[in-house]
């Protein structure tokens, strides 16, 4: 007992008023303000819309959602906890536990969709499918291998960012597609809440990766970059096959792939890296982009032509004007 006390590092209480990294508090605040539960979304309003989907479209949707559930389950129980031992600050640990919990909320919310819209038998069949689908299993295993204890902490972060910012998107595409056709719009609202969370997770873990690696020797940084791009190639290859299997019958595969390229580039940017896919391969269907960020003002001057510019004039503003 006495030995135990002496060998253990001094247990320290977390002090949020002494920050080593401002980003921890910034992200903590954003995550906690954005907290939500699936009960907040009126999924039952989609019952009639669900009935308008053809049986194979319903099956595809359930399968896509079980695939997403699998990734959320991994991130909840393995991925985010695996980053805890590498945390640089106590506040980072707190943020990671928040991330882990929200992944459980995401995984749980797909079951809310199922219980609201689907038959138990169809859902059970889809969960079996998720255990047997070779592409889904392959990507899950590839990521889990990187999370294993004893691995390189920076490689764990790379794998985690790719899961958060890339691997979800072959699945997220479908509810955005339905939403762009005015179907399952409440389910799409729920998915947008998940997308919003995953964006912060990918950003934060990518940021911590950049902080953790900025002082490494050039050779080590180059090796990590090579690892990241090669893992991205490997994951993309699996995702392309997964996408073909799921979406070929709807004729959407090429559309989904453009979305994958676009998100792969954003995942790499979260790590501080340049894009992999050229812009010409990332021309996402505008209807999908609009479904991602509905109501966001898209007009700007540099994309338009021949507009006249408004010249600014001085206006008195105070801090409180800015809605902080």
């Amino acid at each position: 007992m006495k030995d135990n006390v002496e060998t253990r590092a001094i247990p320290r209480a977390i002090n949020w008023n002494r920050l080593q990294d401002d980003k921890d508090l910034e992200v903590w605040n954003r995550l906690t303000v954005n907290f939500w539960l699936p009960e907040k979304v009126p999924l039952s309003n989609d019952v009639q819309s669900w009935a308008t989907l053809r049986p194979e479209e319903q099956q595809l949707t359930i399968r896509v959602f079980t695939g997403l559930t699998l990734l959320d389950t991994i991130q909840n129980s393995v991925g985010a906890p695996a980053l805890l031992p590498d945390a640089q600050t106590p506040h980072e640990e707190a943020v990671l536990t928040n991330i882990a919990f929200m992944e459980a909320v995401h995984a749980r919310s797909y079951s809310s969709v199922f219980s609201t819209l689907c038959q138990t038998k169809e859902v059970d069949e889809a969960f079996r499918w998720s255990e047997e689908n070779p592409h889904l299993q392959e990507k899950a295993r590839l990521i889990l291998d990187k999370y294993d204890a004893g691995g390189d902490p920076n490689k764990r972060k790379i794998a985690s960012v790719f899961l958060e910012s890339f691997l979800f998107y072959s699945g997220f595409y479908l509810p955005m597609y339905w939403s762009s056709r005015a179907k399952l719009t409440n389910t799409a609202d729920l998915i947008r809440l998940i997308i919003r969370d995953e964006a912060i997770h990918g950003y934060y873990i990518g940021y911590k990766f950049q902080r953790a690696t900025e002082r490494l020797p050039e050779a080590e940084r180059a090796a990590l970059k090579e690892f990241a791009f090669s893992l991205m190639f490997e994951l993309y290859d699996i995702e392309a096959r997964y996408t073909e299997e799921l979406y070929d019958s709807l004729g959407l595969t090429e559309d989904v792939k453009a979305f994958l390229h676009y998100n792969a580039n954003k995942a790499l940017q979260n790590l501080g890296y340049e894009a992999l896919f050229p812009d010409s391969a990332c021309e996402v269907n505008p209807a999908i982009l609009a479904a991602l960020s509905p109501d966001s003002e898209n007009h700007d001057f540099f994309s338009g032509s021949g507009s006249s510019y408004v010249i600014g004039k001085a206006v008195a503003t105070e801090d409180e004007d800015w809605d902080f």
Partner: protein
């Protein structure tokens, strides 16, 4: 003479976008009292940090910068960074600044932008000012697509720790 002023947090996305533009630009520091004091008309490039309700979109240092009427008087437009994954609040900082300061939102880009974004903004700025300034190399923001972790980042980190 038109200039660029930008803010970028330690994640460095906006700094990478500005570096890729290859134009002279002044950076609003992440902390501290000393803010740029432009003496000629300029365009502001600003990322978005809104929560789910759109609050807090404009970084505090940018608010401090704009709370000086003499700076606002020279502001001609805003280019906003963001992420479409934040839905309706995508690049919201641009809308807030445009409204408060009666200037146009000139462009929106995601994270560190794409090559297309860089080309469009360069073309847009050239049209806006009527020319693009020649750049003494030392005044170009450091960083860039092929050098994600730069000397500038390290200096910045060392200065803070």
């Amino acid at each position: 003479m038109g200039g660029l002023v930008y803010f970028s947090s330690r994640s460095g996305n906006t700094a990478r976008f500005v570096a890729d533009l290859g134009l002279p630009a002044e950076r609003i520091p992440q902390s501290g009292e000393t803010l740029p004091t432009p003496t000629a008309p300029f365009i502001l490039i600003c990322p978005t940090y809104a929560d789910g309700e759109g609050r807090g979109a404009v970084p505090k240092q940018v608010i401090r910068f704009l709370n000086d009427p003499s700076r606002r008087a020279l502001l001609r437009g805003v280019i906003a960074g963001g992420n479409r994954n934040f839905g309706a609040t995508y690049a919201r900082a641009g809308d807030v600044i445009a409204q408060k300061c009666s200037v146009p939102v000139l462009y929106r880009f995601e994270l560190a932008g794409t090559e297309t974004d860089v080309a469009r903004v360069r073309a847009g700025l050239k049209k806006f000012w009527g020319y693009l300034p020649d750049v003494p190399s030392e005044s170009i923001a450091q960083g860039g697509r092929s050098a994600p972790l730069t000397a500038a980042h390290l200096e910045e980190t060392n200065a803070r720790q």
